[in-house]
Amino acid sequence: MADPTKRSDENGREPSSSDDANLSARLRSLDARIDRASAHHEVKESSARPTSDSSALGQAFRLSAEFVSGVAAGGIVGWLVDRLFGTSPWGLIICLILGFCAGMLNLMRAAGMLKSARHDEKR
């Protein structure tokens, strides 16, 4: 706050010939300050992400939930297939295996090992 008032004081003393140059200089310095501020903001945001990820317990819970839910979903689907079509126990067996695969897929997606093109392209 102190800087601009100081400059306007200087303006008042000097004749108006340098007013435009002064104004553009101040605009430029303001732009630079905005850039710096937004860069700072971005840095803060990107540094916030690793800290929230680095909580290892949270990571473990996240990944295990991904995997377990895949197997559970496969199991539920298999059980429903068996109930509807009377194919017991084959539906459950096959769908559990497929659920295991789906759980692995979930796990790799969550861990970021499988950069799904779908999510990235459409950003």
Partner: protein
């Protein structure tokens, strides 16, 4: 000593209409959110006061998360995502107050929230894109003979989403609260044991204090994770596969 899982017991308060302590705390969480936000935005000013800037920060935080994941057009889901975030966060934090009931430690509650999200994704996806939404299950660049397997696996993976979404929140809250209770129980039993064991009693107390801090982190983090995953799933409804 009380059992560590006794805290999750659902007790009827008004049995006639099935009003339980769970219902009470759900209504409580909603009341805290609505009341708090109304109070914070009562004296709206261009230069926000303390309460108003908290409300604005919450809004901007959720809006940024949503637009990061789904782009500008995702903002039409803002009311849903903001309500979910605030409800989960408030319910988690209310549960941290000793003696209070944690709504999100019951899987049926978190599953209902997850089904709300997935239901929105499915209905909006089909309404907006029709059968093109099914392209979500057909990844590009897969050999034809492998495609049936991949489609079934992708389908099961999609069906597992509400389960993983609900399981994660539920398991975190359940495990955290049980761990807190167990360590607190150790303090009591060590004190009761007498003799040399009494000297050890402060150790689990320190652990309980540390766990309490961790639980606050988990409560906020899980609300955030729930919100982020909601945004990612909504992104699928807005932009299904190729």
């Amino acid at each position: 000593m009380a059992s560590p899982i006794e805290q999750f017991q659902i007790k009827p308060i008004i049995p006639v209409i099935n009003f339980t302590n769970s219902s009470l705390f759900m209504i409580g969480a909603t009341a805290v959110i609505v009341g708090g936000l109304l109070l914070a935005t009562r004296n709206r000013a261009v230069v926000p006061g303390r309460a108003q800037s908290v409300a604005e920060m919450l809004h901007d935080f959720v809006a940024n998360t949503l637009t990061d994941a789904t782009g500008r057009e995702g903002m039409k889901f803002f009311p849903l995502v903001f309500s979910l975030f605030m409800f989960v966060l408030t319910a988690n934090l209310l549960g941290m107050i000793p003696g209070f009931f944690t709504v999100t430690s019951h899987i049926i509650v978190t599953f209902a929230l997850a089904m709300l999200v997935i239901g929105t994704v499915v209905i909006y996806g089909f309404a907006k894109h029709g059968t093109h939404f099914l392209g979500l299950f057909v990844p590009s660049g897969v050999p034809a003979w492998l495609l049936p397997f991949i489609v079934v696996i992708e389908l099961i993976s999609f069906l597992s989403r509400p389960i993983s979404l609900s399981l994660r929140l539920f398991a975190n809250m359940l495990a955290g609260h049980i761990a807190l209770k167990v360590f607190a129980g150790f303090v009591v039993s060590l004190l009761a044991a007498g003799g040399a064991l009494t000297i050890l009693a402060p150790l689990p107390l320190l652990m309980a204090v540390a766990l309490m801090a961790l639980e606050f982190l988990v409560a906020a983090l899980q609300a955030y994770v729930f919100t982020v995953l909601t945004c990612i799933y909504l992104n699928d409804a807005l932009h299904p596969g190729h």
